[in-house]
Amino acid sequence: MTDHNHNPDEKPGWADTKGFRNVFLGVLMTACVLSALAGFVPAFQKDHPHFAAEGFPVFFALWGFAAFMFIVLAGQHLRKLVGRKEDYYEERE
């Protein structure tokens, strides 16, 4: 096992720079917009959708965004119900 000490004077890594963050967000938002626009192109639509929702051009974008938001914002409250101290079982077994 190797664990080198962190040098406080070292430069921030590439992923910690503002430039990388801006590029990442820029590429992500562009890709999101393009994928949403692609949903409006008839050639990218299903010929025989199984459900009406599939005919809605940005259905998958909205469902993905909403599902992720719900999972994180609602799911974190589960911790209040089931969260215990880290050594919960060690104390009792």
Binding site: N5, C32, F65, A67, V72, G83
Partner: protein, 575 residues
């Protein structure tokens, strides 16, 4: 005798088992080499066998088919060999005999189950898998892992007992022990009790909802290599068994759908990233169970194949970080990308693959399941599977690489993963991307070739749908991080169903042991008191001071005559 030996040595599972046993007596530094050579020999045997049924032996008037290689068992057998080889490479140089033995004996048992043509053979391998795998749980050698191993073993053996019960009931009903389609219901639509017992046995190993928690209890407590091996075989053997015996069982659709959903929330709040991946196993097996319910065996088998590779890659990448830092907790990791860039890159390939980004193994296999839900016109199940796909992205696609390699800087600057780990992860990553770009060789292995014939994963709408779903989910993550609403990790233990048997169950078991001990002691005190009183009475009569002592020889004679008479009467009664 020669014929019997021939039956065994042509079985790849037996070849692997023999290889595992050899490592118990050979020098430790040769173990990895021996394991890899034996795995290669087994793979060659599998390849040269060809489809068919082999290894028939008669046992108590029944004919067993110890080896059946058909398209369904073949795809599982192939991926089990790939996984076994990757695990051996990843743990190259490992010297612990028990772990080296289990590294191959446990996959061998799972393979034996997959290749079993009858239920007796399945049961035998099923139990061997339980016993060999517990060595991996015990490997760290602490009290905590000992207790976890005992709980694990109890649950696995319970599954085996239920399987045996199911086999007996099924044999009474049908007179057959063939491992083929069983189905949950009879011709009148009533649930068959034998099938229900068997489904429960499979369900325990597949970690159905409420029966799932042995996975989280046992797997993350194993060693780094042990957890990776454990994560692969038991649940996939169960998936195979369900696909073999219960395809098209409607109930499995709903069970699978629940399995895809609930682990997402537990994974979200879990701090131990290896435990997050065990919840991911539940979620991933849920997709496969759903596919079996739809009767989409290609989806179940294909996704099992893919999952073994990309979930294994995630376990390996996290294991490498743990090997270098000594922890798998999100609160103690972060910022490792600076010194472990190759591991980080391979982890992201695994994360993208499990999230099913186009161009990866996950995309070309998961689509088979989502399409099956569409084809069945089950809108709610389809929506649930899409919702769960966003959940997979959250806990396996983002949380694992983000908290390990990015997020807050832990200050740890470990060296890159050792070469053997990088090679194993590199092969897994190459398989993720290779099959993702060119899935034809994988599709050629799928069991239902008629169904896969017209399937095109890279149709424009498939790609657009999936990109919309995933990219916008990533956008949601970026928004939550930017506005600081993404929850920070907290060191904690989260209660799950194992709480029931670890706290109140354990207390109840302790009470039962105490109460039965006290009852025994009380009964023994009464019994011994009576015996003591009788002995005192005899002593008073026959002892040196007693009446009978005056004619001791006569009394002694009478006593022995009575004892002998009683003895003869007892023999005469039973004779």
């Amino acid at each position: 005798m020669a014929a019997l030996i021939d039956v065994f040595v042509q079985n790849p599972a037996v070849i692997l088992t023999i290889g595992a046993l050899i490592t118990l007596v050979t020098p430790r530094h040769l173990a990895s080499l021996i394991l890899l050579i034996v795995t290669a020999l087994s793979a060659i045997k599998l390849y040269t066998l060809g489809l068919g049924e082999y290894g028939r032996i008669s046992l108590i008037g029944e004919e067993l088919t110890t080896l059946r290689l058909d398209p369904l068992s073949r795809i599982f057998a192939v991926v089990f060999h790939i996984a076994a080889a990757l695990n051996i490479i990843y743990g190259w140089g490992q010297r612990d005999r028990a772990q080296n033995f289990a590294t191959l004996a446990y996959p061998a048992a799972a393979l034996g189950g997959v290749l079993a043509g009858d239920l007796i053979t399945l049961f035998i391998w099923w139990e061997i898998a339980a016993i060999t795998s517990v060595f991996l749980v015990w490997a760290p050698g602490t009290r905590v892992t000992y207790l976890a191993g005992m709980r694990y073993l109890a649950i696995q053996v319970l599954s085996g007992v239920l399987l045996l019960g199911g086999i007996v009931l099924l044999y009474r009903e049908t007179g057959s022990i063939n491992f083929d389609f069983i189905g949950l219901r009879d011709a009148n639509g009533a649930i068959k009790f034998s099938a229900l017992v068997m489904l429960l046995a499979f369900g325990i190993k597949a970690a159905f909802p409420l029966l799932h928690n042995w996975v989280q209890d046992a797997y993350p407590k194993s060693t780094i290599t042990g957890a990776i091996i454990l994560s692969i075989f038991t649940t996939k053997l169960a998936v195979y068994s369900l696909a073999r015996a219960f395809p098209g069982t409607n109930e499995l659709i709903y069970i699978g759908a629940v399995m895809t959903i609930f682990p997402i929330f537990f994974a979200l709040i879990e701090n131990d990233l290896r435990k997050v991946l065990t919840y991911s196993i539940n979620n991933q097996v849920g997709f496969m169970v759903c596919a079996i319910g739809f009767g989409a065996i290609n989806g179940a088998a294909g996704y099992a194949f893919g999952n073994i590779i990309f979930e294994g890659l995630l376990f390996m990448a996290l294991g490498a970080a743990m090997f270098r830092t000594g922890t798998s907790k999100a609160t103690e990791l972060g910022g490792l990308y600076k010194t472990m860039p190759i591991t980080m890159g391979l982890c992201i390939i695994g994360a993208m693959s499990i999230s099913a980004f186009p161009g990866t193994l996950g995309f070309v296999t998961k689509g088979l399941i989502i399409d099956a839900a569409g084809g069945a016109h089950m809108l709610w199940i389809w929506l649930v599977l899409l919702f769960a796909s966003a959940g997979v992205l959250e806990h396996a696609g983002i949380k694992i690489p983000y908290f390990t390699f990015f997020a807050h800087d832990s200050g740890k600057r470990p060296a890159e993963a050792p070469p053997q780990m990088l090679i194993a992860m590199g092969i897994a990553g190459a398989l993720c991307l290779g099959f993702g770009v060119y899935p034809d060789p994988l599709y050629a292995l799928l069991p239902d070739q008629a169904a896969i014939a017209g399937y095109h994963p890279y149709s424009p709408y498939h790609v657009v749908e999936q990109l919309q779903l995933l990219l916008w989910a990533v956008l949601a993550f970026a928004v939550l991080v930017l506005i600081k609403w993404y929850p920070a990790e907290v060191p904690s233990t989260n209660l799950d169903t194992d709480w029931l048997y670890r706290i109140p169950g354990r207390a109840f078991a302790g009470w039962v042991v105490g109460a039965s001990g006290a009852t025994f002691n009380a009964l023994w005190a009464i019994f011994s008191g009576r015996v003591h009183a009788i002995m005192e009475r005899i002593y008073a009569v026959h002892g040196p001071e007693g009446q009978m002592a005056k004619s001791w020889p006569i009394g002694f004679m009478a006593l022995w005559t009575a004892i002998l008479l009683g003895f003869v009467l007892v023999i005469a009664f039973f004779a």
